[in-house]
Amino acid sequence: MENKMNVSASPHIRGNMSTSKIMRLVILALLPAAGFGIYNFGIRALYHMIVCIVTCVLTEFTYEAFADRPVAAGDFSSVVTGLLLALSLPVNAPLWIGFAGGVFAVLVVKMLFGGIGQNIVNPALAGRCFLLISFAKHMTDFACDAYTGPTPLEALKQGEAVDPLYLILGNTGGCIGETSALAILLGALLLLGFGIINLRIPASCFAVFTGMLILFSGKGFDEIYLVQELSSGGLMLAFWFMATDYTTSPITKKGQILYGILIGALTAVFRLYGTASEGVSYAILLANLLTPVIEKVTVPRAFGRRH
């Protein structure tokens, strides 16, 4: 027995969290929103999800196989990217659009920058913005069998009234996974409960966004208006699931708060003063780019070195 003992540096035990387990839990947390999307928009929503997920995973696998890199496509991270991308597509878009977005997200945004943990911006968000710029007509066509007319966010922008109850429940037009604030909040609770995310980023996003609306919208503290703004468009999905993306957000505690403040403020500016009705995607992408700088200026002082 003596001749074959393992020897290594401490610690000799490990916790039970793994990258793949985290990703699977995120997928689980996305299921309420995904499920509601299918219920709300019909089976076509599911087709979009399948196309996006399969594209993302296959793109990663193909790249790794051809570039002769260790295959990490089985870690479910590309499944998360694919699902998030599908949830931010309009149901009426052609199915190939998910394929185009998926290839861009995983190949250009993730793999070319070094794969998991190395990308500078969030792949799903960058994929969505790529599609939005390239195929604007398909990406803003929210009319479908279930709903016609403008999305609630567009209506709000034009000063029309929207019933906040529908926004919270999600029986409205919009992208597949973003309509139901309730389903997304349920997922967010799961993320918090599993300890996947903490409140620093989302709470500072929401606080600053709401605060700026109160100050600068000209409507003051109007609960109905605030609920409408908070639960319309991709805001809920973006603040809970995309702003909290590990790779593209700061790892320092102070940095996470700063990053959340930045996203909240930019989103408010884009929504209040921008020409497009939606601005949260661009706000997060910009904040992603600033993450390295934010980390640099928020290196914590060590225990016992705080004075």
């Binding site: 020897v7 540096a9 610690p11 000799h12 998991i116 943990g117 996470q256 914590p300 705080r306 004075h307």
Partner: protein, 438 residues
């Protein structure tokens, strides 16, 4: 009210049930005893016996070399067979005195013994040095040096570290449950050196029986308090313990005395009691022999110098095939490639693991989840420090407080990518320390 603690830390599986309810048993060694002359921080002891000499239990076989050094005593009676380099827990060859046990356990007579109350404080500290007492929690710093602070009036808190936060270990727990009065007496002796200090038994809230035992034993002592802390790793790290007990923070270049504190391990306090009350030198210690691979995990009171290999048999041998042996706990212990190394003053446990997590998982890319940042009790950024260490960025490593790392292992434990964070950071720290750069 929530119990006090520190920020960060982890909650590993405790796995203490193997030995929690196993009373401490005396162990009588069968083979030769090996006494490395360096079992403490400071100058190695100098052998004062030669091959062929007969020694008695408690006899000095190596004397202290200078002030920061302690003597080493025989833990059995018998004959010195050799003085030669032998393998120790760390894997180094260290000059050792080898004694063949005659199984008589004939004690060295104690000459002109004076009750400790009649001694001057300086003489009490001297008796502690003569008893060969060092910090038995793992560091092995000579206890008399710790106690001989420049201004004893500045010490306001004497903490006995009863937290035993490492998984598997129960030796301190058993001491507290079985002999709480030793700890209270030991505390009384330490407090006699620091007239303005209060005594704190700092213990995690999961050790209920030990809390009760200590509260009963310390009940009448006005200067002592049992302070219940949250159960969390590394609660027993000196800096974390001081923070939880007093709210004061010390860093790597400070001593506990800078925060008006003195911290001692449970076994050390028991050794102080034995030395001052009975003049007994430190010749044995409690060792938890545990792990899934063992048939009958136990706590033993083991004569120092006993081979670890013997303890396996004493614990019933293996029930399943062992994969890894660790001297100490699983978070900070040292893995052994040879069991024929002696129990020394700082050996708290022998852990026989049936699976090895460190080998089971392959490291993958960092996903920047920040778990290590949340877990680090020192408030560091382990993922960044490990990157810097792997690229030999010495300046940056020090600027990001890499030298403050406790090497507690919490970051590696929580890392979902299974990166060897602690290992990389440790390697860099050791290299910088060796170069004299703090």
């Amino acid at each position: 009210m929530a119990h006090s603690t520190f920020k960060g830390g982890i909650h590993p599986h405790k796995r203490k049930r193997f030995t929690r309810e196993k009373p401490i048993r005396e162990y009588y060694p069968k083979g030769e005893l090996v006494y490395p002359v360096s079992q403490h921080i400071g100058g190695p002891a100098v052998p004062v016996v030669k091959a062929g000499d007969r020694v008695l239990k408690g006899q000095v076989i190596a004397k202290a070399d200078g002030y920061i050094s302690v003597p080493i005593h025989a833990s059995v009676s018998g004959t010195v067979t050799a003085i030669e380099p032998r393998m120790t827990v760390s894997g180094n060859l260290v000059l050792s005195i080898i004694v063949e046990n005659d199984n008589q356990y004939e004690r060295m007579p104690i000459e002109q013994f004076q009750p400790w109350q009649e001694l001057e404080p300086g003489e009490r500290i001297l008796r502690i040095q003569k008893a060969g007492i060092v910090g038995m929690g793992g560091a092995g710093f000579p206890t008399h040096v710790k106690l001989a602070v420049k201004n004893p009036k500045k010490i306001r808190t004497v903490i006995v570290n009863c937290s035993e936060c490492e998984p598997y270990l129960t030796s301190d727990y058993r001491r507290m449950v079985e002999n709480p009065e030793w700890l209270v007496m030991g505390m009384k002796m330490i407090l006699s050196l620091f007239e303005r200090a209060a005594g704190i038994f700092a213990i995690e809230d999961s050790k209920r029986d030990a809390i009760t035992a200590l509260q009963l034993a310390a009940g009448k002592e006005s200067r002592m308090e049992v302070k219940v802390l949250e159960t969390k790793y590394p609660q027993g790290a000196e800096r974390m313990l001081i923070y939880a007990c007093t709210g004061k923070e010390i860093n790597s270049s400070m001593l506990p005395a800078d925060a008006g504190c003195i911290v001692h391990n449970v076994d050390t306090v028991c050794a102080i009691y034995q030395a001052l009350a009975f003049g007994r030198p430190l010749t044995e210690r409690v060792v938890t022999v545990t792990g899934k691979a063992l048939a009958n995990p136990r706590n033993f009171n083991v004569p120092i110098g006993t081979s670890f290999a013997e303890l396996i048999d004493a614990a019933g041998g293996f029930s399943v095939e062992p994969k890894k042996f660790v001297a100490g706990g699983p978070m900070m212990g040292i893995s052994l490639f040879d069991l024929n190394v002696p129990v020394v003053k700082t050996s708290s446990a022998l852990l026989c693991m049936s699976k090895d997590d460190a080998a089971r998982f392959r490291p993958s890319a960092c996903i920047r989840c920040g778990s290590c940042v949340e877990a680090c009790p020192e408030g560091l950024l382990p993922a960044k420090l490990a990157d810097l260490a792997e690229h030999f960025q010495e300046e940056e490593f020090r600027n990001m407080y890499g030298m403050e790392c406790l090497e507690c292992g919490s970051c590696s434990y929580v890392c979902p990518a299974r990166r060897h964070l602690t290992q990389s950071i440790r390697a860099m720290r050791r290299s910088l320390l060796a170069k004299g750069k703090r």
